[in-house]
């Protein structure tokens, strides 16, 4: 049997032996003796496969697909005896150039395969490309031989996650990270002991799909440095990991390095969620350049106006036509690929509201793409998280179509908590909802409270340290006259704009950071921490550091010792959350099935102040009386005083001889600010607690 020939050439082109290919799967597939190339285009009239030797300036072969190799709208061909590890490939598509009718075919252009699994061209981060390259982003063929051993998705319950949002490069690019290969996937592996010690169990990676850091690059008018597309919310290839994020990218081994990093994270109990950007591509608007989609089938891939211009719901020039059935399938294929081939645990969808717009841009009530993803069998155990708004004004926090599967970045949580933290009055009602997992937003649909991903900061906006150090954004270094970035920051500088020598200001800032950490980590839902907030990382007031590939964005690890008390506070609050299942229950308390009783208090026990002047709020969490666990699980009480004066809080009484113990009090200096779980300090006065100005107190009744 070993000599049996299953596939033999039937055609030839020059020295190349060929055979009609298999239309599915799209992209490249290794088959016995050759490579199957398959690409879709509805409107192309002809297609050539273009082959390059690695890094060669010109192609060594162009093979037209014979007519009989096209099935329907798919061109597919097996090419035998290709040195697949040493070639790069693309396509030329012929067809009408008729922008008014949506067509932009140009046979002069060599196009990237939308399904390319490896993309070369930006192999080393920040290395100036050859601008004369006729084919700058080239497809490569990936062998499917990574050994995952016994690794699989971790399937950690949503409510048990503590998410840590990270930029792969920014996490370790700074020299203070002391890793061997700064700014890479491999370096994340080196930092696993740190992440485990902190207690997080899920990394959310900002975009790692292939993007071009040189897209729209320019010189900063402030620093004179070159500004790059650092964040990478602009896809070149959806199936390929960014080579420049891999220490081995220059060897074309970025896929292996990323897989190995994920495998090692999984071994350490840490999930990996990818931030995916399906709302637009790096090709820009009608003035943009050809990379792939616009030359392969412009009318299929993009939302176009009746005149053939690009709709811009993304704010980035074009909008991917997500509810076209072809594009929908591409997105599904892409996510399935990342789950099966990279063992990814979940996805966060950038500007996800766009995914619910129809082909003319109108919001749909039951968008087929979102429904497909919610019910897909391969994505069945994946976390699906929506950024439930877009740049076209569609805001769906609380109303994003979910089918019980989709969670949301809860923007209202961020805004309400920030306002409460800075001392705005009248937020007790809103904050009580946010802390319970926002039932006002999600309970109507019988969604679990893990529908809410709670965050106070994320990559978009101020870091936590900057949120307490700046009243306004300072984005001059971005070169847009400080007009970019949001203005609704709800931040407060604690009395001085920016870095301060004043001890009182600095003490207040640290306290406010601890207040934020305490509220975030006792809230029901899934908490998300922005990487670096736990060590007081600053971006010097820049709230939109998308182009700042420098020390402004990078985590400065020296702050770990300088801000050790902030780090310890985060660490112990995470530990508290892990110790007490009541903080992680998955159903709303008001729901009959829930087993946790949440009661609201104020300076008087059992009487919360819901008035428009309120700046105080307290709550208690315990098992229902009927729940057997009540005998074993301690009660929890949290008092939040966001007023600038101290207030006495009357404590609710405890049953069964239990007494209140202090776990955290942000008014106290380190190390009295926080205990370790299980080592809380017994209170002398069991009836009242004087909560300091702008302070949070966490008590354990045991």
């Amino acid at each position: 049997m070993t000599n049996r020939i299953d596939l033999h050439p039937t055609h030839s082109h020059g020295e190349f032996k060929l055979r009609a290919g298999k239309p599915l799967p799209f992209g490249t597939t290794l088959v016995p003796g050759g490579v199957n190339f398959s690409v879709f285009s509805r409107f192309a009239t002809a297609c050539d496969l273009v082959l390059f030797k690695k890094h060669a300036p010109t192609p060594f072969a162009e093979i037209p697909f014979p007519r009989e190799f096209r099935t329907g709208n798919v061109f597919s061909m097996i090419v035998f005896d290709v040195d697949y590890e040493n070639i790069e490939y693309g396509y030329r598509m012929d067809g009408p150039y008729d922008p008014e009718n949506g067509h932009r075919f140009d046979k002069e252009k060599i196009l990237l395969d939308p399904y390319a699994k490896l993309v070369s061209g930006r192999d080393v981060w920040g290395k100036e490309p050859d601008w004369n390259n006729i084919f700058p982003h080239r497809g490569q063929i990936l062998a499917d031989d990574f050994d995952w051993e016994d690794d699989c998705q971790l399937e950690t319950p949503f409510e048990d996650l503590v998410v840590y949002e990270m930029h792969v490069r920014g996490f370790t690019a700074h020299a203070s990270s002391k890793v061997k290969h700064p700014g890479t996937f491999a370096a994340i592996r080196d930092k696993i002991p740190y992440l485990k010690d902190l207690g997080i169990n899920c990394l959310e990676l900002m975009p790692i799909h292939t993007f071009d850091e040189f897209e729209n690059s320019k010189i900063s008018p402030v620093t004179g440095e070159r500004l790059l597309n650092y964040w990478g919310y602009s896809n070149v290839g959806f199936f390929a990991p960014k080579a420049g994020f891999a220490a081995t990218g220059k060897f074309g081994m970025q896929a292996d390095e990323l897989k190995n990093t994920i495998k090692t994270l999984h071994k350490n109990g840490i999930e990996v969620i990818l931030d995916v950007v399906f709302n637009h591509t790096a090709e820009g608007n009608e003035n943009g350049h050809y990379i792939s989609y616009r030359g392969i089938d412009n009318k299929t891939y993009y939302m176009l106006t009746p005149e053939g211009y690009y709709y811009n719901f993304s704010g980035c020039g074009n909008t991917l036509n997500c509810n076209n059935p072809i594009v929908r399938n591409m997105i599904l294929d892409c996510l399935r690929y990342w789950v099966t081939d990279y063992h990814i645990d979940g996805f966060r969808f950038d500007l996800a509201a766009i995914l619910g717009r129809d082909q003319n841009g109108a919001p749909m009530s039951s968008p087929p793409l979102l429904e497909t993803l919610a019910f897909d069998p391969i994505l069945g155990k994946c976390k699906l998280i929506a950024e439930a708004w877009d740049a076209g004004g569609l805001y769906q926090v609380g109303s994003f179509p979910s089918w019980g599967r989709w969670a949301e970045w809860n923007g209202k949580y961020r805004d309400d908590l920030r306002k409460f933290l800075k001392g705005e009055p009248g937020l007790a009602g809103a904050v009580s909802q946010r802390i319970q997992g926002s039932p006002d937003l999600y309970q109507w649909e019988a969604r679990e409270n893990c529908a809410s991903v709670n965050f106070i900061t994320c990559h978009d906006g101020f870091t936590l340290m900057d949120m307490v150090s700046y009243d306004g954004k300072h984005n001059e270094a971005n070169g847009e006259n400080n007009s970019d970035g949001g203005n609704d920051n709800h931040s407060w500088n604690c009395g001085w704009e920016g870095s301060s020598e004043d001890d009182e200001v600095n003490r207040l800032r640290v306290k406010q950071i601890k207040n934020a950490a305490a509220m975030l980590l006792i809230s029901h839902g899934t908490p998300m921490i922005l990487a670096g907030d736990e060590i007081g990382n600053t971006q010097y007031g820049n709230n939109n550091a998308y182009c700042q590939d420098n020390e402004l964005s990078w985590l400065n690890w020296d702050q770990l010792s300088e801000n050790a008390e902030i780090h310890n506070f985060f660490k112990q609050m995470i530990a508290l959350r892990k110790t007490h299942p009541m903080l992680r229950y998955s159903s709303y308390a008001q729901n009959a099935a829930a087993d946790v009783e949440v009661s609201w208090h104020g300076t008087s026990a059992w009487h919360a102040d819901w008035s428009g002047e309120a700046r105080t709020l307290a709550f208690m969490c315990r098992r229902w009386q009927s729940d057997e666990r009540r005998a074993f699980e301690p009660d929890l009480y949290v008092a939040m005083n966001m007023h600038w004066d101290a207030h006495g809080f009357e404590l609710p009484g405890l049953e069964n001889g239990r007494r209140w113990h202090v776990f955290a009090n942000t008014d106290m200096p380190h190390p009295q600010d926080i205990a370790t779980p299980g080592n809380e300090i017994l209170l002398d006065n069991q009836h009242d607690f004087m909560v300091g100005p702008r302070s949070v107190v966490v008590l354990i009744g045991k």
Partner: protein
């Protein structure tokens, strides 16, 4: 520098001394050479890599091939590898199925 290799088989130990760079241009012929070990009584494959200066993905795949095809119970050793080579092996996760040693200890 091109790849040079020397292969000896003694008492079930296949010792392969590598020098130069192992990449896509020479991995194929090297793999053909390794195929000669199939069916022989090989217990251990030892890549002596002191003078190996560079390894690309194609080279790593040859090592995977050695592990998977030459025999189910065969043990693979990478001995004396330079830091640059060792780095690539570790970052791509191959260190989990090869025994890495400074000197061959058996």
């Amino acid at each position: 520098m091109d790849l040079q290799y020397k292969m000896d088989l003694n008492d079930g130990i296949a010792s392969i001394t590598l020098s130069g760079s192992l990449d896509a241009t020479n991995a194929g012929t090297f793999q053909e050479e390794l195929k000669k070990l199939i069916g022989q009584d090989v217990k251990k494959i030892v890549f002596m890599a002191k003078d190996l200066t560079y390894i690309a993905s194609a080279g790593l795949r040859v090592m995977i091939f050695a592990k998977q095809r030459i025999g189910a119970d065969v043990q693979v050793y990478l001995v004396g590898a330079q830091e640059a080579v060792l780095d690539v092996v570790k970052m791509s996760g191959l260190d989990t199925f090869m025994t890495i040693q400074k000197e061959f200890e058996g």
